[in-house]
């Protein structure tokens, strides 16, 4: 299993901007193929969603993908098994909600992630105040817990979050849930700056980044970018692994020019 932080740091040192596409595990029969396709198209790591019934941080597109995955009977274990089966030469992080982790049991699911080759977890409804029991088991299993910093996070929280974060620090680009936006908003650069004041870990910006132009804009200040809804929408529309690869390729080219 690749160590997420080491891997991302190494790529950053080579002068490469980091591209982290998100897709929803189990959203279609060929989601494993889509996962492989976005890696081949230039992803530096991939976020795989584990569908939850009540995704509080997600907008309509990711909600719809989650619903489809649940309607197909997708379980957390199946998503992890799917990651294990896929050809994943770059690190994979899962993104899901805490109840699924709690219900599975911290230790069991952390070990299951590790054995599936999942190197990191992003749990947006688990703030640092509540992270203890999970983080202990995740650390023990070698699973990095990526933490989010929001535009509303005051400096003392940013410092605490950066201190506890593993893998990379996820800079939330705007106040709001996931979903495509026409513009990037004005918060991202300031959030990245506040994180840089506290840590030299890789910083990637996500939530609302929708186009190659926006990805490039973000990468002018951050080490990388997470793109979710814009990719998931293409998969929901039936574009399949090819459309996913084409879109990720366009993101790659845009950020390589930064």
């Amino acid at each position: 299993m690749a160590d997420l932080e080491k891997e991302l740091r190494a790529r950053r040192e080579r002068g490469r901007k980091l591209l982290i596409p998100y897709l929803m595990g189990g959203m279609s029969d060929d989601w494993g193929k889509a996962l492989e396709a976005v890696i081949a198209a230039g992803a530096d790591a991939v976020e795989v969603g584990v569908p939850f019934s009540d995704p509080m941080m997600d907008g309509p597109v990711v909600q719809e993908a989650g619903l489809r995955a649940l309607e197909r009977g997708t379980t957390p274990d199946e998503v992890l098994d799917g990651v294990a089966r896929a050809e994943t030469p770059v690190p994979v992080a899962v993104m899901t909600y805490y109840n699924l982790i709690f219900r599975a049991g911290h230790k069991r699911i952390a070990r299951k992630m590790a054995s599936a080759g999942v190197g990191a977890a992003i749990l947006p409804d688990l703030p640092i105040e509540e992270i203890g029991p999970w983080a202990a088991e995740a650390d023990a299993a070698g699973v990095a817990t990526v933490l989010l910093v929001a535009p509303s996070s005051p400096p003392e929280r940013v410092a605490r979050i950066c201190d506890r974060a593993r893998g990379f620090v996820y800079a939330v680009a705007r106040m709001g849930v996931t979903g495509e936006r026409a513009d990037l908003g004005s918060d991202a650069a300031a959030v990245v700056g506040r994180i840089r004041d506290c840590t030299d870990m890789p910083v990637c910006v996500g939530v609302g980044v929708s186009t190659p132009e926006q990805a490039a804009e973000v990468c002018a200040v951050a080490d990388g970018v997470v793109v979710g809804s814009a990719l998931v929408r293409r998969l929901l529309e039936g574009g399949g692994p090819e459309a996913a690869a084409a879109f990720v390729g366009s993101l790659r080219r845009a950020i390589d020019e930064v």
Binding site: F52, S53, D54, P55, M56, M57, G59, P60, Q63, L70, T75, P76, D77, Y97, Y98, N99, L100, F102, R103, A104, P124, D125, L126, P127, E129, E130, L147, L148, V149, A150, P151, S152, S153, P154, R157, I161, V172, M175, G176, V177
Partner: protein, 413 residues
């Protein structure tokens, strides 16, 4: 305190709660025993932490308290009476008292909470409130308080509920609120909460989320309980007056999120009274739920074996919720309160029973508490001769059309 007339007066249960009470203030981590906490995105954490400070500051400010008391009294119609049910008591061979929240302005206990939160919204310098609603009662109360204070108001309501509570949708619109029909998930209360949370993340700078029950992340379960504790404090004093200084044997309230029950229990938790919370049979989070995290809280939830939240099923939109407030999960785990449930059929029977014997049409939610009493009167759980206080959390006007349809369907079918 401004209420100097001694009628259910200065003895507010909420403050009694801070001195070694079984319903004490939760710790700094927002836990009641093991339940509670704050499981929200980082974007919302600062708002939750600030809200806690604002509320503590307001709650210990005599000016805030007296403004709130004055509003509840002169605008909200408090104190609400306690009514002795003569005919129904005779029939059930118990002594039944009702705490009449149905007589509060807007027809339920929900106003107690929203007037407090609307005052707090102003105090925080925010200009807009958002709210979720199931039956529509919390939405109507929020729209009412927003109108009173000149705040903007958006209410999130599941599409299933906008249909079964059409009149309340119109009521909210009349009051100047915008009602957003929620079409995600099961399209009921739980999804309305999700959508309100999503909106809150996006607008937290200008907008207060006026949560309608003792649920969600800390400080909401504590804050809403304190704001509802006026129900229990009044009721305790009124019962003592009526019962020659003693307390009822049993205190019963329905539980959706659990705010009318928490407010009621706060007044009696430190008396010998047995406390009974009654959930909908299809939403019985204490009986059928397991611990987990939803809507920012660690509590008991209906969920499947991997942790997907299950949909509640109830005749009453206000109890159609797969969880309950963390303090109730705690009171259940330490055994201080007992939780039971009532089926839709029992609820319909109780709805008609109270209407015919006492001339009071209860909300379907409140009818759950009455159904428990009707089912248990004369059994070991509620022996003949017991004195029982039921919090009648709301009036049934909003439910009349729905009940008529159900009863007509039964006659035809």
């Amino acid at each position: 305190m401004s209420r100097g007339d001694g009628d259910a007066g200065d003895d507010r249960g909420g403050d009694a709660g801070d001195r070694g009470s079984l319903m004490a203030r939760p710790g700094p981590d927002g836990r009641f025993g093991e339940f509670g906490g704050r499981f929200v995105p980082e974007s919302l954490m600062p708002a939750c932490l600030e809200l806690e400070k604002w509320f503590d500051d307001a709650w210990s400010d005599p000016a805030f308290r007296s403004e709130l008391d004055g509003l509840l009294r002169h605008y909200g119609g408090r104190p609400t009476p306690v009514t002795e049910c003569r005919r129904l008591s005779e029939r059930l061979r118990i002594r039944l008292l009702l705490k009449r929240e149905d007589l509060a302005h807007t027809g339920s206990h929900k106003l107690n909470n929203v007037v407090g939160q609307a005052l707090l919204t102003k105090r925080m310098g925010k200009t807009r409130m958002i709210a979720e609603t199931g039956a529509g009662q919390h939405g109507v109360a929020s729209a009412t308080a927003a109108a009173l204070f000149g705040l903007e108001c958006t209410v999130f309501m599941g599409e299933v509920d906008t249909k079964r509570q059409e009149l309340n949708v119109f009521r909210m619109e009349l009051l100047g609120a915008e009602v957003r029909s929620v079409i995600s998930g099961s399209r009921t209360l739980k999804d309305a909460v999700n959508e309100a949370m999503r909106e809150w993340v996006a607008c937290v700078e200008t907008t207060h989320y006026c949560l309608g029950s003792v649920m969600g992340p800390h400080p909401f379960p504590y804050m809403v309980r304190q704001l509802q504790s006026v129900v229990g404090a009044e009721a305790r004093a009124q019962c003592r007056e009526r019962l020659a200084g003693s307390d009822p044997d049993v205190v019963v309230a329905c539980v959706g999120g659990g705010s009318n029950a928490a407010g009621t229990f706060a007044g009696f938790v430190d008396t010998p009274a047995r406390l009974i919370g009654v959930e909908a049979a299809g939403g019985a989070a204490v009986t059928n739920g397991v611990p987990g995290v939803l809507h920012g809280m660690y509590s008991r939830l209906l969920q499947d074996e991997v942790g997907q939240i299950e949909e509640a099923q109830s005749i009453s939109a206000g109890l159609d919720y797969p969880g309950l407030g963390p303090e109730h999960a705690h009171l259940a785990s330490i055994g201080r309160a007992e939780y039971s449930s009532a089926t839709d059929d029992e609820v319909l029977d109780a709805f008609r029973l109270l209407s015919r014997t006492e001339g009071i049409i209860p909300a379907l939610e409140s009818a759950h508490a009455l159904a428990w009493v009707a089912r248990n009167a004369g059994t070991a759980a509620l022996p003949h001769g017991s004195t029982v206080l039921v919090t009648l959390s709301g009036r049934g006007d909003k439910d009349v059309a729905q009940v008529r349809e159900i009863l007509a369907g039964r006659r035809d079918g």
